[in-house]
C-alpha cells in the first residue's frame, strides 16, 4: 500500500500561521523587547506546521505568549497584549488540532468541516476572553486596579480548582 502523507491538515496550518501573524502584530506595541521572542515564536510556529511537530508548535506559541507578557510589561497597555496572547493560544489550538488530524487521517482525507468547526470555536472563546477580560480591566482600573485584579486572579484560580475536582 502506498504510504499516507501524514503532514498537518492544510486549513488548520494556514489558520495557525495567520493567528501567529496577528499575535506578532499585536505585541509590536511592546517594541523590540516584545518583538524578539515574538518573531522567534512565529518562526517556530511556521516550522512546526510545516514539519508537523507538536513540540516546536508549543515552544513557538510559548515564545509568542512570552512576547505578549513583555509587551504588557513594556507598554503598560492591556488590550493589544491580551489580543496577542489570545491569538497565540488560538494558533496553538488550531495548529495542534491540524497536526493531530494529519497524523490520524493523513493529508489526502477531507477534513475541512472538522477543522473549521474547531477553529471557529477556538476563535470564539478567544474573542469572549478579550472582551470580558478587557471590560473587567477597564472597570476595575477606576478604583484600586491592582488589588481588584489580584482578586480576579484568585477567583479564577479557585474556579479552576473547583472545575478540576
Amino acid at each position: 500500500m502506498s504510504t499516507v502523507d501524514r503532514a498537518p491538515a492544510r486549513a488548520s496550518s494556514v489558520v495557525a500561521v495567520g493567528a501567529g501573524v496577528v499575535s506578532l502584530a499585536a505585541l509590536a506595541v511592546g517594541g523590540a523587547f516584545a518583538l524578539v521572542p515574538g518573531v522567534l515564536g512565529l518562526v517556530l510556529v511556521v516550522l512546526a506546521v510545516v514539519g508537523g511537530s507538536r513540540a516546536w508548535l508549543t515552544t513557538g506559541s510559548g515564545f509568542l505568549l512570552l512576547g505578549a507578557l513583555f509587551a504588557a510589561l513594556a507598554s503598560g497597555t492591556a488590550l493589544l497584549p491580551l489580543l496577542g496572547a489570545v491569538a497565540a493560544m488560538v494558533g496553538w489550538d488550531v495548529g495542534e488540532n491540524g497536526i493531530g488530524l494529519g497524523e490520524q487521517l493523513g493529508r489526502a482525507a477531507r477534513t475541512r468541516h472538522a477543522e473549521f468547526t474547531h477553529a471557529s470555536a477556538s476563535v470564539l472563546v478567544g474573542l469572549v476572553t478579550v472582551v470580558v477580560g478587557y471590560a473587567v480591566f477597564l472597570t476595575s482600573s477606576g478604583g484600586q486596579p491592582l488589588s481588584a485584579l489580584v482578586l480576579l486572579l484568585v477567583g479564577a484560580v479557585v474556579l479552576l480548582v473547583a472545575l478540576r475536582a
Binding site: 470555536a121 482600573s141 486572579l153
Partner: protein, 421 residues
C-alpha cells in the same frame, strides 16, 4: 468503546500562574490581566460538552465481484443519530489488508449536525482472493478536543475477486511413454475422445470405426476419425512455501506470478482436452483433482483465486518438506504429469521436482525470474537460481525460465524451440 482524555490542554493553567506571578512582582495590572487567557482556555477545555457516540456508518461497494485489477469504488456514509452537534468526527475505514487504495482516501474528519449525513468514497484495486473489510474506527471529539470517544464498528462487507484464467495459445507437455499413453487413452475413452471428421472408407480401417448408420442409409462406407492426440492428465503444482513469496522490486510476489501462469497453462491445456488439476506445495494444502469441461474450468479458477494454499499472503504455519511431498504424491493419479511453478528461491523445489520425476511423473518446471536489481545479494541469488536451473535440466526435467515482465506465451515459444532441438 473507549472514552479518554486527550490531555491536549494540559499545562494551560501554568500560563495563568506565570502571568499572575510576573504581574504581582512587577505591580503591572496589564501583565496580570494576561492570566485571564490561561484561565479562559482551561475553562473551555473543562466545560465544553463531551462528545456523544451517536454516529452510524454504512459502507457500500460498487462491485463485490470484480476482476483482477479493477478499481472498486467504496462509499462510506456517516449519519448523526443523536440530537446534538458532533463537532469533530474522525472516521478511518477498515480497508482490507490485501487491497491498496488507488484513489481518494479512506478517511474523513467532519462536523455533523443532528440527523445529517456525510459521505466519502475511495477506490481500491482488486487483487485475487476474498477480502473482508475490517472494522471502521470512529473517533468523536468534543469541540475543545479535551475528551474523545473511540469506537470500532464492523460493517460486514467483502470483495471477492476471482480473476478469469488468462488465455495462452498452447503449452507443450512432455511426450508420454507408451505404457502411459495406453492408460491415458482408456481413462479418457469412456468420457469422450473428441470427434474429428468422417472420410471415405479405405481398406484396412477397423470395422468398429465404420459409420454404419450412414452405410445403411446411403450404402457408402465411411470411416469416423477421432482426434489423434491423446489427452494427458496434468497436475499444476504451485510452490507456496514461505520462500516462494519473494517479491520483485515492484512488490509483486513470485506466488502471484506462479498463480497467474498456472491459470494460463490450465487454460491452454483444458482447451486441448487435457485433464487438469491443481495442488499447492506448501504448508497450506489445496487440491483440485484433474478434470475437464467448463464447470471444472470455473472451479479451477476459483481454487487458484481463493484457496488457502495459493493465498496472496505468506503462510504462518510450519512447513514439513517430506510430509508435503508425500501428500502430493498420494493425491497424484499414477499417470499424471506435473507442472511445477516455483521461483526456485531455494533448493527445495529442485529436490521435489527430481523426486516426483523419479516416481514416474513427468515434470516440467515453470520458474518466474523475480530476482531484480544489481546488489550483491541479488547477484548471489541469481547465481544460485541459475545453478538450480542447471541441476534440473541435467536431471532431464524441462525448465521454462520466465521473466514475468514478458508474456508467458513468448517464454513458451522460445522454450519450445529449444526443447525441439
Amino acid at each position: 468503546m473507549k472514552t479518554r482524555a486527550t490531555n491536549r490542554w494540559r499545562g494551560v493553567t501554568a500560563l495563568s500562574f506565570a502571568a499572575g506571578a510576573l504581574g504581582i512582582v512587577t505591580s503591572q495590572p496589564a501583565v496580570l490581566l494576561l492570566a485571564v487567557v490561561g484561565v479562559a482556555y482551561a475553562a473551555y477545555a473543562r466545560l465544553a460538552p463531551p462528545p456523544e457516540p451517536t454516529a452510524r456508518v454504512e459502507r457500500t461497494v460498487d462491485d463485490d465481484r470484480p476482476d483482477r485489477g479493477d478499481a472498486v469504488g467504496v462509499t462510506v456514509e456517516l449519519t448523526n443519530d443523536g440530537d446534538r452537534l458532533l463537532p469533530d468526527l474522525r472516521v478511518v475505514d477498515g480497508v482490507p489488508p490485501g487491497l491498496a487504495v488507488v484513489d481518494g482516501s479512506p478517511r474523513l474528519a467532519t462536523a455533523l449536525r443532528p440527523g445529517k449525513r456525510a459521505s466519502f468514497s475511495y477506490e481500491v484495486e482488486a487483487i485475487r482472493g476474498t477480502h473482508d473489510f475490517e472494522p471502521t474506527q470512529i473517533i468523536a471529539r468534543g469541540v475543545s478536543g479535551a475528551v474523545e470517544h473511540e469506537d470500532w464498528v464492523r460493517a460486514e462487507t467483502a470483495i471477492r475477486c476471482v480473476p478469469r484464467l488468462e488465455p495462452l495459445d498452447s503449452f507443450p507437455l512432455r511426450k508420454q511413454t507408451v505404457q502411459h499413453t495406453g492408460q491415458v487413452t482408456t481413462d479418457v475413452g469412456g468420457g469422450g475422445v473428441e470427434f474429428h471428421a468422417t472420410r471415405r472408407y479405405r481398406p484396412g480401417d477397423p470395422i468398429q470405426r465404420i459409420d454404419w448408420h450412414r452405410a445403411a442409409k446411403t450404402g457408402e462406407l465411411t470411416t469416423v476419425e477421432f482426434r489423434e492426440e491423446r489427452a494427458a492428465t496434468v497436475v499444476l503444482l504451485v510452490d507456496s512455501r514461505e520462500p516462494a513469496y519473494v517479491a520483485d522490486l515492484a512488490g509483486r510476489s513470485a506466488v502471484e506470478n506462479c498463480v497467474t501462469a498456472g491459470g494460463q497453462v490450465a487454460s491452454a491445456l483444458l482447451a486441448t482436452g487435457d485433464r487438469v488439476g491443481v495442488a499447492s506445495l506448501g504448508p497450506r494444502w489445496s487440491w483440485l483433482a484433474p478434470g475437464l469441461g467448463r464447470v471444472h474450468r470455473t472451479r479451477l479458477a476459483e481454487e487458484l483465486a481463493l484457496a488457502a494454499g495459493f493465498a496472496p499472503t505468506p503462510p504462518d504455519e510450519q512447513f514439513f518438506p517430506g510430509l508435503a511431498l508425500r501428500r502430493v504424491r498420494k493425491h497424484l493419479p499414477g499417470d499424471a504429469q506435473v507442472v511445477l511453478f516455483s521461483p526456485l528461491s531455494d533448493a527445495y523445489p529442485t529436490i521435489a521436482a527430481r523426486r516426483l520425476e523419479a516416481h514416474g511423473h513427468l515434470v516440467t518446471v515453470v520458474s518466474p525470474d523475480v530476482v531484480d536489481g544489481e546488489t550483491d545479494g541479488a547477484q548471489i541469488a541469481r547465481l544460485e537460481r541459475d545453478d538450480r536451473l542447471r541441476t534440473l535440466r541435467r536431471a532431464g526435467i524441462r525448465v521454462l525460465d520466465w521473466d514475468p515482465d514478458r508474456p508467458l506465451a513468448a517464454a513458451v515459444t522460445d522454450a519450445t524451440r529449444r526443447w525441439r532441438q
